[in-house]
């Protein structure tokens, strides 16, 4: 029993931290600091614990329905890091928006816990619960600017679509349960190895439904419609959390679900082809939608919503490559990590613009920034270059690995398309830089000013982006070693 506790320690600490945060917030209602500090503490401890346990062997517990592996540990550590960064980077924004409530913090912690469990779940039902544990706080946080109808609308859209998709996922797992008699990943895997018929329609339908649920979560077109609206409406730090934490957790889970049956088993060839075709076509659609629509956007949050849609497209190239025998998942993981470092910086930077009405940060707010604050311009430029995949930023290496692995698996035409999409979206990333350095400040442009902590967070992420861009060895070396499915 206590080795179970020992294994689950980081998760348990996180859960305890949630209670603690709730407690301190009711002890002194008027002040938000206690909740904030306890949340920070919780996250730090969780991160440290999961990091120092990182090299321990993977263990399946609760009858194999949860598996704690080095991957789940490092992901949990990443989640706590993201949490820390957004707690630090977000508080000034919350203050400005008058929504600095203690609830924010324990909701955030619950969300992280859900994500942490989701990446550890090896059972469809546990996965469902984790999904909901992650999503419900997300809905609430999206609507956290209670008196702003846009935020409210975002939350409701997110809730309605998310709820429906949750049901779809559940239906899918019911079908899988019906087809295989189990909801445990390993036994489903075993079943697929046994059955030589290459899967029956019931299983196929179920598999597709669960995959679609997570394709929705990662906003692969044509399941992306929710994303721009929710991104725009939600408070900026929450948007940041969605595009980093939730995106990572969901994509990892998506990869797991795609690999649910043993696609390389005999008799499953046509099934595997069908899966590949599906993912390939969705990748194409996501790339096109993301990079074509992004150049039409004026609102920065929407712009990065479409950006993340095209990032999903690139990620699906990696996923596609991972379906070929002998290909690891490391390109996808490295892409996710690299993307997170850039995205955190960008969204925290976005919180630094003073509010102008109820609409978010518009492109015009950036005009003439180089004269108003050159340092911030430099930060923006580096992060945007990383998004565009320019050299000497981590963005280059993430794209590099994904492209390389897909070319290696004979997907060259797809890569050419992706490359051209990268060119198109590069325009969208360069245009802000152009506005910052080439134009004089527009009269309507918002003022910019971030507190120490938010600036600190941005600088940290910029340093990470540049360092990993020059010396990607550490990240690549570690993440290459990680197997996703055992």
């Amino acid at each position: 029993m206590n080795e179970v506790i020992h294994t689950l320690m980081p998760w348990l600490v996180l859960a305890a931290g949630i209670l603690l945060t709730l407690l301190v917030s009711v002890i002194r209602v008027e002040s938000k600091r206690p909740a904030q500090i306890s949340a920070l503490l919780t996250l730090v401890v969780t991160g440290v614990l999961s990091l120092q346990a990182i090299s321990l062997p993977g263990e399946a517990i609760f009858a194999g329905s949860i598996e704690v592996s080095s991957l789940t540990r490092i992901l949990l550590a990443l989640f706590s890091l993201i949490g820390i960064l957004f707690v630090l980077g977000g508080d000034r924004y919350l203050g400005k928006e008058r929504i600095h409530l203690s609830d924010y913090y324990h909701l955030l912690l619950i969300l992280i816990l859900g994500a942490g469990i989701m990446v550890a779940a090896k059972d469809l039902v546990v996965l469902f619960i984790a999904l909901e544990v992650m999503s419900l706080p997300a809905y609430t946080l999206a609507g956290f600017r209670r008196n702003d109808s846009r935020s409210n609308e975002a939350a409701i859209k997110y809730f309605v679509l998310g709820g429906a998709v949750g049901a779809v996922f559940l239906l899918g797992s019911a079908f899988i349960f019906g087809a295989t008699g189990s909801t445990l990943f390993p036994s489903i895997h075993e079943w697929s190895r046994q059955s030589t018929t290459g899967g029956n329609p019931l299983f196929a339908a179920g598999h597709f439904l669960v995959m679609v649920a997570f394709l929705f979560k990662v906003a692969a077109a044509p399941f992306h419609f929710w994303k721009p609206d929710v991104y725009e409406g939600a408070p900026t730090p929450v948007t940041g959390i969605m595009s980093t934490l939730i995106a990572v957790a969901s994509f990892v889970t998506l990869v797991r679900l795609v690999h649910l049956p043993a696609l390389d088993a005999s008799g499953w060839e046509t099934y595997a082809t069908a899966v590949k075709v599906t993912i390939r076509s969705l990748a194409v659609i996501s790339l096109l939608v993301g990079s074509l629509v992004i150049i039409t956007q004026k609102n920065l949050k929407r712009l990065f919503a479409y950006s993340s849609i095209s990032q999903t497209g690139y990620l699906m190239l990696g996923l596609l490559a991972s379906l070929h025998p002998g290909q690891g998942i490391s390109p996808v993981l490295i892409y996710l990590f690299g993307y997170v470092f850039a995205a955190v910086g960008i969204f925290v930077l976005m919180t630094q613009s003073e509010p102008r009405g109820d609409t978010g940060v518009e492109l015009v707010d950036l005009t003439g920034l180089v004269k108003r604050s050159p340092f911030r311009t430099a930060l923006w430029s580096i992060l945007l270059f990383s998004m565009a995949g320019m050299p000497f930023t981590v963005g280059f290496f993430t794209k590099y690995l994904v492209f390389l692995s897909s070319v290696g698996t004979g997907e060259t035409p797809l890569v050419v398309l992706a490359a051209l999409c990268a060119v198109v979206s590069a325009y969208a990333y360069l245009r802000p830089i152009g506005l910052m350095v080439m134009r004089d400040a527009d009269p309507g442009a918002a003022q910019w000013g971030g507190g120490f902590w938010s600036q600190f967070v941005v600088v940290v992420s910029v340093i990470a982006v540049v360092f990993l861009g020059l010396m990607p060895n550490a990240m690549i070396h570690y993440l290459k070693g990680i197997p996703l499915i055992h």
């Binding site: 390389l404 070319v407 290696g408 060259t412 051209l420 590069a426 325009y427 830089i433 152009g434 080439m438």
Partner: protein
């Protein structure tokens, strides 16, 4: 050991200069920039002297340096650099061009001079590492890195339509280079398939490419070719060039026309020709035809252009067409001749743009619609311009003549027709360059634009020294062109 240190030295010195530029007071930035780039030029010449002053290629070979540092072992990435008969001269050229560009006075020394100078030195660093790189990915990275300072230069100190022009410039070149990256991936996976390990070093790739048959290599070759054709540029891939040349600040224009275009040349010399000999030979006719076409096409555009900067931009395309003609004659001689002509073009176009800026400073515009008759007011300046014009029409006795003559001589063996077509460019070159000189210098004075009182006087002493240096190179190269052909 000692040799490899010289390479790292050449690469790090510009970065050092960049760092120092941040502690130099604004007022001294120009002085510092000129001094620093002059020092770097001297150092480069010193470090590469073994090659550039050797009597023959065979003698030079002793000084070639190969250096390969592990960078990302997991991906087989290495920082591979090679100093050889070509890259040595490209290094000298980039340092020289930087010196010329820094010499140009202008708003960039009044508005954020520190940023300008550091951008310049960063550009020099990126150029050097691109010219030296033998590792595909190292090359790609440096090749892309060259954009970054260029974008900011045009963006911050450029003319009015800078935004659209710089985006077009960036996006077109980026499209080319990213497709080149895909081709690199293709080659790397080819190597991986053959040997089972990842490497992006040219020497490794060459080994596995030789086994592949030409049919499969067509598309990768096309990827590389597209990138470099856009960079040089070759007609019809030149759409980005005019606007950005016209809108860029003069130092930017000098950098672009004199040395950025040579990135394409260097890339073709180092990567395309060794990697895809069979493919090139198969499509040689088309390549030669394209080169000849761009010679004539650009020359015709230059004939009808009514702005000094535009005319020089098109003439630059036209001359680079000759360079490509030499490269695609696919013979050692042809490549050497192309190298010679690239040096000539770099020096000449640098000189021309430099002096054109002097004219612009004095009269406010460079329109060629009516004769300005400035030669009588600024005799020295216009003597310089005339010498540059002579070099650019490749009069015998100038560096460019050797280049153009040898290029055509070797191209003639490959295709008489294309050579004759390109020869038309020789005549047209005389037409537009003489018109350029006439409209600026000759005719009756007085029709010149507003002349700032401060600039009524002729070239300053530093400018004269700069011009003398460049003209000296041109004439020395005319007498002893062999020094530039160490490939």
């Amino acid at each position: 050991m000692e040799t490899s240190s010289s390479l790292s030295f050449l690469l790090t010195v510009p970065l050092l200069a960049l760092l120092i530029s941040w502690v130099i007071p604004k007022a001294l930035q120009r002085l510092y920039a000129i001094f620093g780039s002059a020092m770097i030029l001297a150092l480069t010449v010193y470090e590469t002297s073994g090659i550039i002053f050797s009597v023959s290629t065979e003698a030079a070979k002793a000084f070639f340096v190969d250096q390969r540092l592990e960078w990302v072992p997991e991906l087989g990435l290495s920082a591979g650099f090679r100093l050889d008969g070509y890259s040595a001269w490209f290094l000298v050229l980039s340092a020289l061009t930087t010196l010329v560009a820094f010499c140009v006075r202008g708003v960039w020394y009044r508005k954020q001079p520190r940023l300008f100078v550091s951008m310049g030195f960063f550009l020099l660093f990126a150029l050097n590492s691109a010219f030296l790189a033998t590792d595909l990915i190292t090359f790609y990275l440096s090749y892309e890195a060259v954009f970054i300072p260029m974008i900011f230069m045009v963006g911050i100190w450029g003319e009015n339509q800078k935004a659209s022009s710089v985006f077009r410039f960036f996006l077109m070149s980026f499209a080319g280079s990213i497709l080149m990256l895909v081709s690199m991936f293709w080659l790397m996976s080819l190597h991986h398939g053959a040997t089972g390990q990842w490497s992006s070093h040219l020497s490794d790739i060459l080994g596995s490419v030789s086994s592949a048959q030409a049919g499969d290599l067509v598309w990768p070759c096309a990827g590389f070719f597209l990138a470099f054709a856009l960079k040089v540029p070759l007609v019809p891939f030149h759409g980005w060039l005019k606007d950005v040349y016209v809108n860029a600040p003069m130092p930017g224009t000098i950098w672009m026309s004199a040395i950025l275009s040579k990135l394409g040349v260097a890339g073709i010399i180092r990567f395309v020709i060794p990697l895809f000999p069979a493919v090139l030979r198969e499509y040689q006719g088309i390549l030669l035809a394209l080169s000849a076409l761009s010679v004539v096409y650009a020359a015709l555009l230059a004939v009808r252009s009514d702005q000094g900067k535009t005319l020089l931009a098109y003439s630059s395309i036209s001359h680079l067409g000759f360079v490509m003609l030499g490269l695609f004659s696919l013979s050692q001689e042809g490549v050497n001749a192309a190298m010679l002509l690239s040096v000539g073009h770099a020096v000449t176009s640098g000189l021309l743009f430099f002096l054109l800026h002097q004219v612009e400073e004095r009269t406010g515009d460079t329109s060629l619609n009516e004769s300005k008759g400035l030669a009588s007011s600024f005799p020295v300046l216009f003597t310089g311009i005339f010498l540059a014009v002579l070099a650019s029409v490749s009069l015998p006795g100038t560096l460019n003549f050797g280049g153009e003559f040898l290029v055509l001589l070797n191209a003639y063996r490959a295709s008489a027709l294309c050579t004759i077509l390109a020869g038309a460019g020789v005549v047209l070159g005389a037409v537009y360059m003489l018109r350029f000189f006439q409209r600026l210098g000759l005719g009756s004075p007085g029709s010149a634009g507003p002349v700032e009182a401060a600039l009524k006087k002729d070239l300053s002493m530093t400018d004269i020294l700069m011009v003398a240096l460049l003209v000296g190179i041109v004439i020395y190269g005319g007498i002893n062109p062999g020094i530039f052909m160490k490939g």
